[in-house]
Symmetry: C2
DNA sequence: TTTTACCATGCAAGCGCTTGCATAACGAGC
DNA sequence: GCTCGTTATGCAAGCGCTTGCATGGTAAAA
């Protein structure tokens, strides 16, 4: 069987507690003893049993990441997975492991088990998972939402993209390229979702004085975006640019323009949120608001570790997205 | 603090071991005692400490999933993330949790820690992680590769897509639609990758007697695919259909055809591997070989749990992909 | 030299649970 | 009525590590 701390202690001729101390480095150990212990560890290829360690120390040595399966797309969505990647990196650097749990309806259970069975020291989860009932059980347990809650944001810890800012720089970019009548096209099943409101707010802020604006809602499918764009573009006063809140809307818009004989970017400009790989390969490639998922994950993890140290709640952070310029806004 | 098994025992007026037994259900307990214990558990809102349980029982109650960060795309790749989702579901159904670890160069460390520190009872990893040195350390530790190793496949446990079969049904589909001169277009940085060889094998198998075949290698970028397709389509004897091994190749092919005034599907047919969301939204939408990532994940997890029961190695399983018909093969 | 102080290590009691063995209780068999 | 096999539960020794406290030893202070 694998070597234990005891074995190491025997071989080194010291007490187990001494081995423990050199392992944890929190006590002063004489250089010679340390040497001997280290040598014994090396020789026995000793690896501490994290289970025993956790039990004795009361620290699980792991954090939990909850994915919301209700949002089936979460896993198709590079956004979340890529963040997970960064989170894991960060945790690993801190000597922590990462446990994942899916959820949706059942997520309450998965999350509860993770926490109540003391498998993790902290939790990263989508705000949708944090229904009040669960939160009550988890009170005083370190957590961070990956995404801004739609309500009472101030009461929670969260990290999110600065959607308002993203929309604003998108519109400003369009304006700087000479587009004037800019429409917002997009939406989702939940058109009242907070992030959409925030984007629209930024969008409105960026519209030049006295210019028209359009808030065009779709159901999130390219087909619907196509229809809505068609209708809009055939109106007498139509936009000359679109801010799209998803790549799907981009597909619909491109199709509509093609059918109407409108050129992107000559006649119509377009900027899309969510810089999925696809955006670079549409025809024309779409200028996009890009989310730095690595940064997002890192910041989230970092905030969680802070919360794990000092259990003070109410941290927020907005990550500024950036604009990636492609052909769809290169009006000549 | 949270209630312990002892607390429950006291409240129920029984010995801790009895509580443990009703919890694990492996012993015969009189109905009355069970009732009393259950009531106490309920009343105290008791949740077993999984750490203590694991330490005492020698079972971590978790499996590890290793993502290979060298393949940065792994996380962009719905393929792997979606499998992870299914794996987690399966594990959860078995009462297990899932730990994830990234890797690349450092993956040796992450994996080693997971195993050597006894955090997991089994491991799912990409074959690229399983370099001999690591495997030696892990000998007799339950694992399954998610993906067929390029060499010595028989020696390992793995689950993979049946790439040969996928290529075969793709070609057969093209033939059934009236295409005759079919080319294989695609590749990757590692053009000797096993899965490509297997696809090409299936492709060749499907080519009708006496017809020509083309094995066109690209570097994996759409740009390169475009160039290669251009060159090929301008040759005197050119293909009338393509089997693409990635959506990126599809982008390149579409562009080439458009420039040459060739219609897909009238003049050129196309089937692509990897049914990324993008494939449904190209113009025209691409007929694709679809990987059932859910099934892939489930089968992988299932195999791992089998390996964890009876440590016999050498299991393999191929998951048959299916063909999703779209416009790119609808020759009239 | 004696006292004071500290430094490095040993000691042992847990952390919360599992589990092999012992035991009391009980009905059945002779 | 006595022994024997069952059955349901108790007992206690761990699982491998951490950590507060005790202790021996050495250097600085007196």
């Amino acid at each position: 069987m694998a070597a234990t701390l005891q074995d190491v202690a025997h071989l080194a001729g010291v007490n187990p507690s001494t081995v423990s101390r050199v392992l944890n480095g929190k006590s002063v150990i004489s250089p010679e003893t340390r040497e001997r212990v280290l040598a014994a560890i090396e020789k026995l290829d000793y690896h501490p049993n994290s289970l025993a360690r956790s039990l004795a120390s009361g620290q699980a040595g792991a954090i939990g990441v909850v994915l919301d399966a209700q949002d089936v797309g979460a896993f198709q969505n590079p956004f979340f997975s890529a963040s997970q990647f960064a989170i894991e990196q960060y945790a690993q650097d801190q000597g922590y492991h990462v446990m994942v749990a899916n959820g949706g309806r059942k997520s309450g259970n998965a999350v509860e088990r993770l926490v109540l069975e003391r498998k993790v020291d902290g939790l990263i989860m989508p705000p949708s998972t944090g229904h009040p009932e669960l939160l009550k059980k988890l009170i005083h347990f370190p957590y961070v939402f990956l995404g801004q809650p739609d309500e009472n944001g101030d009461d929670y810890n969260w990290v999110d993209i600065d959607n308002e800012y993203g929309a604003l720089i998108a519109v400003e970019h369009l304006v700087s390229k000479g587009y004037r009548r800019i429409a917002y096209l997009g939406g989702s099943q939940r058109s009242d979702a907070g992030f959409i409101m925030r984007r629209q707010k930024g969008y409105l802020k960026g519209i030049p004085e006295g210019e028209l604006h359009w808030l065009l809602a779709t159901d999130g499918t390219p087909e619907n975006a196509y229809e809505v764009a068609m209708a809009c573009l055939q109106g007498e006063q139509h936009p000359d640019a679109f801010l799209l809140d998803d790549n799907m809307a981009g597909i619909g818009l491109i199709k509509a323009c093609r059918e109407l004989g409108l050129s992107i970017p000559q006649d119509i400009g377009a900027v899309t949120f969510n810089n999925f790989p696809m955006a670079a390969y549409t025809d024309p490639p779409l200028t996009a608001i890009d989310i730095n998922t690595g940064l997002l994950g890192t910041e989230t993890a970092q905030m969680l570790f802070e919360c794990m140290k000092e259990a003070e709640a109410g941290h927020h952070k907005l990550i500024k997205p950036s604009l990636i310029e492609r052909e769809s806004t290169q009006k000549k």
